[in-house]
Subunit: 342 residues, 2 copies
């Protein structure tokens, strides 16, 4: 019997339908490789002149900017979706609303080596990437035009990856709060108003008490397949200690985050034949104390990372309803990932 | 300069970013054909024994059920996402909610001939499909367990189409209202509460007054590229006369709907090299008069069809924000589709 499960935060129903079942390991097959890789790779060390001028870099030996000798670089996107210069100029047009596309769009080049999957980076390098995310978020927060920075990764062609197959993530700062984040904030607030507890904290407690959906449980962090996943092997990483703000993560806990992120990505790569995936970091919007309707956000929201392997196709039912059909139970997905030796 | 545009109904922002611009006709190329077609086709006339027993058929010469001599058939899905038998049994599990996966999942076989794209069916045949949708919705509405029926189509592999390449659509009846439809209902109600007018009616009037996004304008219906489209060439078909209920469409107007649907699909096929696409019909939920928070729905909601060609990839930014990046302006998309001779 299929089950309808409700995401406890945003209220999205998901159909867990295993009638057309595959075994978990059968999901990892035949990914579209996309067009041929761009060569020479503009993100490799030595090819700095092929990118826009760097915004940030890690240079342990103080080599000059835009030259070799770096461990990590941040550059503006060559095809930015939003422009940094200008004013918002929000305006109406009959029933419609629009603003200028002001924002920032940056690319984090995660390594100087030509490695494509973050799963293959050493933990210390992933820690540098996390530190860099936090530095960039803190810098972008100073620009009063921006309300949010989304950190995300597109790995593999089907997941929106590009012809540059070199480990990278992206940051987009937006002048409006994302709809998805607002939905989470509203759902978490509703739960908090009733229970006076954070729903994410309750969820973590329940998952640890009955760990059938837990993929990894390490010091400070948990990786779980959510109760109502949209996609097979969808996995969330949550800090066990309550915090609404990813950028407030203490230095001493960042190594653990690097560890759990690397291990989850490596389990996906090893167990599912190197699948395309996305991840997104969901954190509280900027200047949240003044943000009116989510005044209590420090108590009720909880930052987390959502990792989405792209193994199934999204079709009319999903577009039409906003519900998802997941052809693998999250308990089976978690068991499979737990058992992958990585 | 890119623009941020807001969908006036659900409040979703869309980035219209033409920096990485392609010409409109360059979007139609290289679609993944998917795995090989299933042969012999179980949906062709003569192969009735290869489908589950029919729920409905059009048989002008009264041939017996499940035999040749039909113009259109409806059969249960062979891999249904929801099951028709049983009770909902809605229950909690700590912080989580679930119910049994009760629902109906039916396939409308749109023709007895082996034609794959609805665009290639004669208008009279599309009229039969529309009549059939309405008959099936009215029948499913009688089952008090169901709150909604989504009618949708997946054409082409990337759009979630199957190995049976024979024109078909699907109906899924759900025991809960779709999130996407609830968002539209809530947005339309908010507008109505303020203006005492239907937002869709206002939108139609504005589009007709300044028709730069109009693709087709025929008796009773309009096809427009929305002001804030998620995807290039996304097109909505709306009835000009206010109505919240697709299934209440009068007999004498159904032929016009068949005409505009066929012409839009044929323009997409001709202009964009037969792309994969989805469409969904958004109509008011069942038993709406009693549905509490959308009491005024007869006045403020307006049924419509959303057609989504699948020409771009959805990536981390979209999953993380619920916003979309559309690399083609809707005005250019509409101009291109208007000029396609089909």
């Amino acid at each position: 019997m299929p089950e309808l499960r409700k995401d406890p935060i945003v209220g999205r129903w998901v159909i867990i339908s295993t009638e057309r079942a595959k075994r978990p390991d059968q999901f990892g097959a035949n990914f579209d490789p996309g067009p041929q890789e761009l060569t020479p790779c503009p993100f490799c060390e030595g090819n700095e002149s092929q990118t826009p001028k760097e915004i940030f870099s890690l240079r342990p030996k103080q080599a000059p900017a835009n030259s070799p000798g770096w461990e990590l670089r941040v550059v503006p996107s060559i095809g930015p979706f939003l422009r940094i210069e200008g004013s918002l100029d929000r305006r109406g047009k009959g029933v419609y609303d629009l603003t200028n596309g002001i924002g920032a769009h940056e690319v984090v080049i995660e390594t100087s080596q030509h490695i494509s999957n973050m799963a293959d980076l050493p933990q210390e390098q992933i820690l540098k990437v996390i530190n860099c995310y936090i530095d960039r978020i803190n810098d972008l927060e100073r620009d009063k035009r921006f309300k949010y920075v989304l950190v995300f990764k597109n790995y593999g062609w089907t997941a929106g990856g590009s012809m540059i197959k070199h480990a990278k993530s992206q940051l987009i700062a937006t002048p409006v709060n994302p709809k998805r984040v607002k939905e989470e904030l509203a759902g978490a607030k509703q739960y908090f108003d009733f229970h006076e507890r954070c729903i994410f904290c309750d969820l973590i407690k329940q998952e640890l008490d009955s760990p059938e959906r837990v993929v990894l449980d390490i010091d400070g962090f948990i990786a779980v397949v959510p109760f109502a996943p949209r996609f097979p092997f969808e996995t969330w990483i949550l800090p066990k200690k309550h915090s609404c703000d990813f950028a407030a993560l203490e230095n001493q806990n960042r190594g653990n985050l690097a560890e759990i992120l690397r291990r989850v990505l490596l389990k996906l790569k090893t167990g599912l034949n190197d699948p395309p995936y996305n991840y997104v970091i969901h954190s509280a919007p900027f200047r949240r104390a003044k943000a009116g309707y989510w005044k209590s956000i420090d108590q009720d929201y909880h930052w987390h990372i959502e990792i989405i392997p792209r193994l199934t196709r999204v079709a009319g039912f999903e577009w039409g309803t906003g519900f998802y059909i997941c052809p693998l139970s999250p308990e089976d997905a978690a068991k499979f990932l737990r058992e992958v030796n990585a």
